[in-house]
Assembly symmetry: C2
């Protein structure tokens, strides 16, 4: 955790005061949204907001825009306008991607019946499943409202593509639950849908509103690969990570039947795991820990981690030829590295 915090600090340092300023504006905007749509949302959303998070997606928006904050001269298309004021559309985009992310977390907590997130009661725990489902829907709606206010249909298109992908990823995950026949390719497609798509959209929106529309596809590709690595390493951590790091016990994915890369690779190496009926095996939850150990013994964790690192390397490579300030490229590379450091 301290490593991750140090890494975040490095990104902020590379991004400069402009990045920190834009992130502050985003916090303020998120608070406005939470307070401006009825007493019920204010009550439910303020906790989710205050619980914070790394604001990784807003950070990607700003770093993929041009910007004073990342070492480029003031001027049109910069995160800070020539007069030093923030570009409202970039703040709107950053708020939108974070609102969409929050909406999915609130819905996930209903589905997982989760009592806590980041040490605070979830909306589900505090308000029940009806209030939490509606709160998620409202955060979702406000994400689109933020972008509609910018007047850019292209931006709305990028967000609706991402939000569709998130939902498709969830559906795919349910369809594949408990399956003994998930290929690495299908797993990767699921990661792309349920995680990488929003990273990609964040980068695209930054380029779109940051006067760098020509770079949208390229930085989108960077974001997608970072997102893939993020999800893949998350899945490694679910099997390997100490509970005090992840905030949840080993093998949470196993317990709800989610088949991730470590298990897929381990099954290729260990016939006993291949023959295992997962649903039956974890009917006694204490056995999940043992299955995690057995996955680890096959070396599958190392290989899954290696594959994730390849995506990080490709993400950084995708930045190499782009027409952007070195300081900005450096900050984006630090974000990519940060995804790895989080799990170091």
């Amino acid at each position: 955790m301290n490593t991750a915090k140090a890494q975040l600090g490095a990104v902020l340092a590379a991004g400069g005061p402009g990045l920190a300023y834009m992130l502050d504006r985003t916090e303020a905007r998120l608070a406005e949204v939470a307070e401006g749509h009825g007493a019920e949302l204010a009550r439910h959303a303020s906790g989710t907001l205050a619980a914070g998070g790394k604001r990784l997606r807003p950070m990607l928006v700003f770093l993929c825009a041009g910007g004073e904050g990342v070492g480029e001269p003031r001027g049109e298309g910069n995160a800070l306008r020539a007069d030093g004021a923030p570009d409202g559309r970039l703040v709107a985009a950053a708020a939108a991607v974070e609102l969409l992310h929050m909406a999915t977390l609130v819905h996930d907590d209903v589905l997982d019946r989760a009592p806590l997130r980041r040490g605070r009661p979830t909306v589900f725990a505090a308000g029940g499943r009806l209030a939490a489902t509606a709160t998620g829907d409202l955060l979702f709606s406000r994400a689109f409202a933020e972008l509609a206010a910018t007047g850019s249909a292209d931006a709305v298109r990028a967000l609706s593509a991402a939000s569709s992908a998130l939902a498709r990823g969830e559906l795919m995950q349910r369809a594949d639950a408990w399956s003994d026949d998930v290929s690495p390719e299908r797993y990767l497609e699921r990661c792309r849908l349920k995680t990488a798509s929003l990273f990609e959209a964040s980068c695209r929106l930054g380029a779109l509103f940051g006067g760098r529309a020509g770079l949208a596809a390229a930085v989108g590709g960077f974001g997608e690969r970072v997102g893939l690595a993020f999800q893949m390493l998350d899945d490694v951590l679910d099997v390997s990570g100490p509970a005090e790091r992840t905030g949840k016990p080993h093998g949470t994915d196993l317990l709800d039947g989610t088949v991730t890369l470590p298990l897929i690779l381990a099954r290729e190496r260990d016939a006993g795991l291949r023959g295992l009926d997962l649903r039956e095996a974890v009917s006694d939850p204490t056995r999940a820990e043992g299955i995690c150990d057995r996955i680890a013994l096959t070396g599958a964790l190392g290989e899954a981690r290696e594959r994730a690192l390849e995506h990080v390397a490709e993400a950084k490579l995708a930045l190499a030829g782009l027409d952007m300030a070195d300081s900005r490229r450096r900050a984006l590379e630090l974000v990519a590295d940060g995804v790895v450091e989080r799990y170091a």
Copy 2:
């Protein structure tokens, strides 16, 4: 039911072949959306789609546009273009409002743990709560994608305002559950949020894409009043209606603590009802029927119905001064009347 079907037939007759054609196009578009976003959505959404419904909201879109189908000459801004082809943006808007409506139904069925809707298994029943929540989210996302494809940020704004309102309405309903202190005004505001807002948006989108942007506010006001009446009469029916008409037993709202206008008015008239602890009273579900009868005895149902009819009358009045073809006005009046007939 037969009355409602006859009324729908009258609207279609008034709308002419153009309206029927546009509604057919909308069905085709909805089927494309259901099939074009992964096997999981196709499986889950096709049932929801096939279950149909009155397509009241798409109908409002087309009737609030100019249009060949409603007796106006062919030409720019008509639902049918000069060459007789449909205006893709109107079909997109009609699909969007119906997708958003479907998304809320799918989520509602999760929250109500409903086994059937319109005689078919719900997505919740067929796929479980995780698949149903994600299916709702995906339908939601596709609604915004439909409008984003039109390139109109104004249209996205109208839809996000409506979808925010729907969610706020749900939150308000949860906040007021079991309350003995809901005013008629607060009840009306809830109806506006959770039902009338999408009727309003449907009418606005029709005007916007149908070359009648100047009428957007006025037809939006019409839609809002029709939506208010629709919800108010639905709430009357929950207390009074025969189960074979409503498809659910008497007093469903009472059982989940939803305080509607009939109860609010009855409490003003019957001190015994006023003193009743609702939660305790329906802890034995068979008692809901008795409470419905007691509400009916106060005359509250008649008054609630009268108030709904006032909104229908105002809706029709709002059309009187508008610059639109008589045939189109007549078709919209029939929609307003149809809301009442549904409960005759």
